[in-house]
């Protein structure tokens, strides 16, 4: 049990000191996946053969004393990040058999360090959802209670890390898809600043909001992963040329005098009482550590979900139009081109994906564009301005990650509006292109983890990791049945 609770830093030392080989480490995780994943369904594809040869490659490098921080470290990758020669499904029937002929830039970077790919993790179909129950296959469960959802859309990655079926993972976050499942599964997830990590090879949901980021056991582990994947990319014109820092550099430095803002709207009646009080006691803990709490407001929050669904829906409708079954993916039948793609798309997409496509196309239609899409863009500006105002007075912002802890499977899926409103705590961060980290701050009466989010200034990831780490040093994690004795 020592091994699976080890931090990435410890694993690095163990590998470098030959206490364990890369192959043994990978095998340890495969044994656990074999044992527990049939129940949890966090993986869509497990890549054992490939991984063991990856591990042997990594071992050579370790033996040559030439290891990079992630050499020989096994990772799980969300199944919307393209992996050359390994199918990448987006948990959709549409791409069930899609094998990309190229790697995402983040995969190229990880391969450059000789990481070990454990497998591809489940998600809501095309990352649309917050429960991983819209997946066409591998509907992942919560490791703290398999009758509950793991959150989503990166539910597979969060569950895999929470159940120790991977030491760390990559997810993607469009409106909370890294942070909310991290919070539901009791792990740490970081959504980087928009443009910090290349989106090349990430199958697009909403291009102006999507961002790849790490899900891990701690803020420090997130920082180690971010160090590996951050940076400008010639293949992604929206990637930022801002210099890459060592995101773990500030860890351990005093947070005395750090100003933490608490926007009142995030602590309203629509947030569960237990969640609220748990996050507020974490705020008290920060005060005890020397931080200064700042009360503030964010009046645009009530419009945020509407703006988010319009912008993300519009982009998604366009991004998903390419799935016509002509060159790859599920191919329907029909006598004409129109009939054929109608059939491909009817059969290939699930209900939630269809709903978002309809919503997005409606918002962009002539006659409605001004009323919906343009208004959403105006709200985006308002949200950015309110964040700027708060950051004039504070260094980071503290909010709950989700209004509730993990709920029962089947409880919310029938009510899309309720489901969409549950994104209220996370979507503004994507709209404003900011970085945010979710970390566990307690457990509710049902024993389900509660997460809090720290939101930072643009490219302020190092401060977020420092701040999260300061809290995590004193935090007591509850084990789940997969990690316990």
């Amino acid at each position: 049990m020592e091994l699976i609770n080890a931090s990435l830093k410890t694993l690095r030392t163990m590998l470098d000191n030959k206490e364990i080989s890369a192959r043994e480490l990978a095998k340890e995780y495969y044994d656990r996946i074999k044992k527990y994943d049939p129940e949890l369904e966090s993986y869509i594809t497990v890549t054992d053969e490939q991984a063991l040869s990856d591990a042997d490659e990594a071992q050579k490098r370790i033996d040559e004393k030439n290891a990079a921080p992630l050499t020989g470290i096994p990772l799980a990758i969300k199944d919307n990040i393209c992996t050359d020669g390994i199918r990448t499904t987006c948990a959709s029937r549409m791409l069930e058999n899609f094998v990309p002929p190229y790697n995402a830039t983040v995969i190229e970077k990880l391969k450059g360090q000789n990481y070990v790919l454990l497998g591809k993790t489940s998600m809501d179909e095309f990352a649309m959802g917050g429960s991983t129950q819209t997946a066409a296959f591998s509907k992942t469960k919560n490791p703290y209670d398999i009758t509950r959802v793991p959150g989503g859309s990166s539910g597979g990655s969060a569950c895999a890390v929470g159940a120790k079926l991977a030491p760390a993972a990559l997810g993607s976050d469009t409106g909370g898809s890294i942070r909310q499942p991290a919070s539901f599964c009791g792990v740490t997830g970081l959504k980087p600043t928009y443009g910090r990590v290349s989106r090349y090879g990430l199958i697009a949901f909403a291009s102006s909001l999507d961002q790849i980021g790490p899900i891990a056991n701690s803020a420090e582990d997130c920082g180690i992963l971010l160090n590996a994947i951050a940076g400008a990319d010639a293949h992604d014109a929206t990637s930022s040329p801002a210099p890459v820092e060592d995101y773990t550099a500030l860890i351990g430095q005093d947070i005395k005098g750090l100003k933490i803002a608490l926007p009142a709207e995030f602590y309203s009646d629509s947030t569960d009482d237990e969640v609220k009080s748990t996050v507020l006691s974490a705020a008290k803990e920060y005060e005890r550590l020397g931080a200064e709490l700042v009360q503030c407001n964010m009046s645009s929050l009530k419009y945020a979900v509407a703006a988010y669904y319009l912008i993300s829906g519009a982009e998604a409708a366009s991004n998903l139009s390419r799935f016509d079954g002509i060159k790859y993916g599920l191919r329907g039948e029909g006598k004409s081109f129109d009939e054929m793609i109608r059939d491909s798309r009817s059969k290939g997409f699930g209900a939630e994906v269809k709903r978002r496509i309809l919503l997005g196309n409606y918002a962009l239609s002539s006659g409605y564009y001004d009323a919906y899409y343009r208004k959403a863009l105006a709200l985006k500006q308002l949200i950015i301005k309110e964040y700027n105002d708060i950051f004039d007075k504070a260094d980071v912002i503290l909010t709950p990650t989700a209004p509730t802890a993990a709920y029962k499977i089947g409880e919310q899926e029938s009510d899309p509006v309720k489901m969409y409103l549950a994104d209220i705590c996370t979507v503004t961060v994507n709209i404003a292109s900011l970085p945010a980290i979710s970390l566990p701050c307690g457990y509710n009466a049902d024993g389900m983890p509660i997460g809090m989010s720290l939101v930072g200034k643009r490219f302020g990831e190092a401060v977020l990791i420092q701040t999260a780490d300061a809290y995590q040093r004193g935090f007591k994690y509850e084990p789940n049945k997969y990690t316990g004795a």
Partner: protein, 474 residues
């Protein structure tokens, strides 16, 4: 009722960049089907477009030569529609903030100079090509992602001649700017024509139709003329013109409906989130503007003004960029602009017009043409023999000196031969000789010609003339 046509154009021109507009695939014409595409231009999931800076430079040049304003802030939008030749199901184009706005081009049409206004020019990507075989359609994505500029004019055109003169003029300008190769047979430029008819002087326009994808001057002219005729017939018979998109059939010379207004797409344009907007600085724009090569009008002025070439010859030369380049390079190699110009416009252009040669693919270099002119100007060969050598150069690609040597076309100034030949000609033409001697000196030219012909260019005209005068006056 006198009906008056009003016409506006949308012209698509492919840019001459090495690579495609959003990826690094070759932008060359042709190639094995689907051999020039990659995950980006074939729209595989997860891939992202990255804008080719050269394409942006080229559209700015196109804007400057057509007197447009260049937007200091420009951005790209997605035009969404499903079609199998469009792998992303959206075309990256520009809607509210095109690179070029406003502008005009002056043309000569129907005996007058007319100013045709440009509404906008924007940068977008080309789609692929569909090939229909039996009951199967095959898609070739080689053309997918080739950079295109779309030039949208104001409705300033009123006849087929206006349209073809404009099209030909901008084709030439784009070629000179090095922005588009203008090769219509390869689809490098395509024209959509919007036509409506109304009573002359009426302030409302009639219902318009749009004829799509015309790719030759002939097709443009015929389509415009046919559409004017068809709409005139309809209106005069009391019927209504339907707003629709039409296809022009080259074989029948008629237009037919592609889709009506009711079937028009809602393209759901919105800003492309993958391509950041561009802000140009004055320095960047100035640098691009300074880099624009000499335009046809400037070359014309240089030919007439500096070289003293006739306006007709200068026009013929500038109207074909390959010919104009050949001329400039030949003059650079051997400085004799006038004889070079007249030889090109008379002899070379005749061969080209007869289909014996292609201006874009001549088998010899400009310096070889220059050498040919030099041989004649320096008296090494006769001027007539330039034609003979040119034909040989065109058919075999041989150098002019080699041809002259092989065919023995050098001027030898062999006085004995000249004398013998002149004697023979005079003996064979007693009547003209009599006429000359009785004062009708204009027959001298005829006798000169006969001698020249018999000597096959081996003697210079001066030498023949001297001998002929001597014999006639003796």
């Amino acid at each position: 009722m006198k009906l008056y046509p009003t016409i506006g154009l949308e012209i698509h021109a492919e840019l001459l960049t090495q690579s495609k507009v959003f990826c690094t695939c070759s932008a060359q014409f042709g190639g094995e089907p689907n051999s020039r595409c990659c995950p980006v231009c074939s729209g595989l999931p997860g891939t992202l477009p990255v804008l080719n800076a050269k394409a942006v430079e080229y559209i700015i040049k196109a804007g400057y030569i057509m007197n447009c304003d260049i937007s200091r802030f420009t951005k790209w939008d997605r035009k969404n529609y499903f079609y199998p030749d469009l792998p992303k199901a959206y075309q990256i184009s520009q809607m509210p903030r095109p690179v070029c706005l406003g502008g005009y081009v002056d043309i000569e049409s129907e005996g007058e100079t007319k100013r045709m206004r440009i509404n906008r020019i924007h940068l977008e990507e080309d789609a692929g090509k569909l090939v229909h075989q039996n009951r199967v359609s095959l898609a070739d994505y080689n053309r997918c992602g080739i950079p295109l500029i779309e030039i949208v004019t104001e409705p300033d055109f009123h006849s087929a001649q206006d349209v073809t003169a404009f099209f030909e003029k901008i084709r030439l300008m784009l070629q000179y700017a090095g922005v588009c190769d203008g090769r219509l047979e390869q689809g490098s430029m395509r024209c959509d024509v919007n036509i409506s008819l109304a009573e002359k002087g009426s302030d409302t326009l009639g219902t318009r139709t749009e004829v799509k994808n015309l790719n030759s001057l002939k097709a443009i002219q015929r389509a415009v003329e046919y559409e004017i005729y068809r709409q005139t017939e309809l209106i005069e018979n009391g019927e209504r013109v339907i707003q629709e998109t039409l296809h022009f059939n080259d074989a029948t010379g008629e237009t037919s409906s592609l889709r009506s207004k009711e079937d028009a797409h809602d393209y759901r344009y919105f800003p492309d989130p993958d391509i950041p907007p561009i802000i140009f600085t004055e320095e960047e724009l100035e640098q691009i503007r300074a880099d624009i090569p000499e335009m046809p009008q400037q070359r014309y002025d240089r030919y007439v003004g500096e070289y003293g070439i006739s306006p007709t010859d200068a026009s013929v030369i500038i109207n074909n960029k390959a010919i104009s380049d050949l001329f400039d390079n030949a003059v650079k190699a051997y400085n004799a602009p006038k004889p070079t110009a007249s030889f090109i416009t008379v002899e070379l252009m005749r061969r080209i017009n007869l289909g014996e040669a292609n201006a874009e693919e001549l088998p010899f270099a400009a310096k070889e043409l220059a050498r040919l002119i030099e041989l004649a100007e320096t008296g090494k060969i006769s001027k007539d023999n330039r034609k003979v050598i040119l034909r040989e150069m065109l058919s075999s690609g041989k150098a002019p000196d080699d041809v002259a040597e092989e065919l023995q076309l050098w001027i030898k100034e062999d006085n004995a031969l000249i004398e013998k030949t002149v004697d023979e000609i005079l003996a064979a033409n007693p009547t003209p000789v009599e006429q000359y001697r009785s004062g009708q000196t204009k027959v001298f030219g005829f006798l000169m010609g006969q001698c020249n012909k018999a000597l096959k260019g081996s003697a210079s005209p001066a030498a023949i003339k001297q001998m002929l005068e001597k014999k006639l006056n003796s």
